[in-house]
Amino acid sequence: MHNITINRYTVDTPAPARMPLRLLSSSTFKRLLVAGSLLLPLATTSVAAEEREPAEVYRQVCSHCHNLDKAVGPMITMPFPETAWEARGTYIRNTVRQGRAAMPSLREAKVSNAELDELIDALLRGELANAAAGEE
């Protein structure tokens, strides 16, 4: 489905819109009001909805197994020659989305398509090699 794009990112996942309360049935709306569930102060203090930088995705999701000092999964941060980017990128994408042996599959909800595009780009260019070695 996805063609790898090294220099630009073709897929964006727009943030789904909050469902308007008007879409709730009137009876449910009243019940919620009675239950207080629409009234309780639930100010959101942290939402991780915005697109994360590749290094942040790597830190949060990949590093715990793929960092050199962990060695649970293979090293994935070595740069690849440009001629191999498309093939290697497809391999990474398929592995992330479908999983492979011990590697769990990672869904769009966990790593968005846009984030994955950027992550693959950074991995192929070797930009995360220092992060994998445990350096800032």
Binding site: M1, H2, T13, P14, A15, P16, A17, R18, M19, L21, L23, L24, S25, T28, R31, L32, A35, G36, S37, L39, L40, P41, L42, A43, T44, T45, S46, V47, A48, A49, Q60, V61, H64, C65, K70, A71, V72, G73, R97, Q98, G99, R100, A101, A102, M103, P104, S105, L106, R107, E108, A109, K110
Partner: protein, 516 residues
Amino acid sequence: MSTTQRILPKGVAEADFDAALNLFRDTIGSESVLTESEQLAPYTKIMMAGDDADYIPSAALLPNEAEQVQEIVRICNQYKVPIWTISTGKNLGYGSAAPGATGQVILDLHRLNRIINVDPEVCTALIEPGVTYQQLYDYIKEKGYKLWLDPPAPSAIAGPVGNTLDRGVGYTPYGEHFMFQCGMEVVLANGEMIRTGMGGIENSSSWQVFKWGYGPYIDGLFTQSNYGVVTKMGLWLMPEPPAYRPFLIQYQDPEDIAEIVDVLRPLRIAQIIPNAVVIVHTLWDAGTHVVRKDYYNGKESIPREAIERIKADEGIGEWNVYAALYGTPEQIEVNWKIVEQAFSASGKANIMYGEEAEKRGGGFEYRSALMKGDMNLQEFGLYNWRGGGGSMWFAPVSQAKGSETKDQTELAQQILGKYGFDYVAEYIVGWRDMHHVIDLLYNREDPEETQRAHDCFAELIDEFAKRGYGLYRTNTEFMEQVAGTFGEPLRNVHTALKNALDPNGILSPGKSGIRQ
């Protein structure tokens, strides 16, 4: 996707399913309704020994708000569409992010990922199901709060809500997760939303501090069940202690497990050792970083002589106890003397902490991280022990009594040996109970081995049940069988509750063997 190949929810006509999908799109946006096979691929990977064809979703829904979940279940009721709810989807070895049966629609709550509140004074949090331990950990660090989490082994990529609802455990003094849960927001099958405990009181300030509320306590009904969709959950966080001392005790003889448990039990019940202690067998302790074929490449269970070579090479014991002390330095010194005295009595134990423990070849570093709530996935190294991506957690409960532990260990080794699998196991010690966790590792790329693993797991369930041992949790392939071991009267109650709360049977049919 061609019509002839299309997967539909069981008993739902294609036209009805299309109508439901259109309403889902109206509710959460078309980009959040996944139906293409490439989009659904991540929801099909399983590690358990089931048939891949039995665990393929027909669609996945990615709501952003609890109110959208309410509307989704109303649509499901209208068209009798079954949904299988996941949060972070990292219940690896228990079913991962796959549905309970082919055709079910995945309700993926990962985008409900708000940290609504962390209170550093009463040490509580209120979060949504998509929040990962890593996300909450980062948030607490960023705020500078002196609070610890209690992650299970998949830590960073898993989340507190899903793990607690499956009654998972961690390794700090807050290791029994459901015990430290407080208050839920739940969307019922009819679309109504409730708050448990004190949450029903408008503007209550005690929702996250007082578990019981008023009247029957119902939070447990929403764990390991399919009676509602939990959209918010409160939990208690451990205040960071002034001092922390992880330690390691090694025993070398297989028979020593009985002594370990009997020495440990009074210390654990009296809270001298307050955390969820683990007693780790050689193959687990080594298996996080050692590969089986370096010691044995045969098809039988790894032989005793190979286990002895691993112990010698790695400097680990037959049984390796990882525990910790928490408190002021003075408290730790007092309790350390008690621990040393208790374990030194027989002369069999090798007791150590600090540099001496770090030099051992086992898991002291990652265990020390987990016992203080840090993020660490080193345990996933177990999946490389045999290779091939097959894993099922067989997890019977036992009393914390040496005689019982010895019986369970021998029975497990006998059945695993019959099928050619290794005893890769640990005991997690609660207050009076223990979770005997065995990772049945196998090569899932080999159909014969996969079938053998399936047969082995089924026999383990039955044979343990015959001796009075039940499982605390299991994977989707074996939920029906495990439910059967707990008897029909209990199952009838579960069914009656299901019929009352979800008469159309739309919520996670088959979860824990519960269906209409």
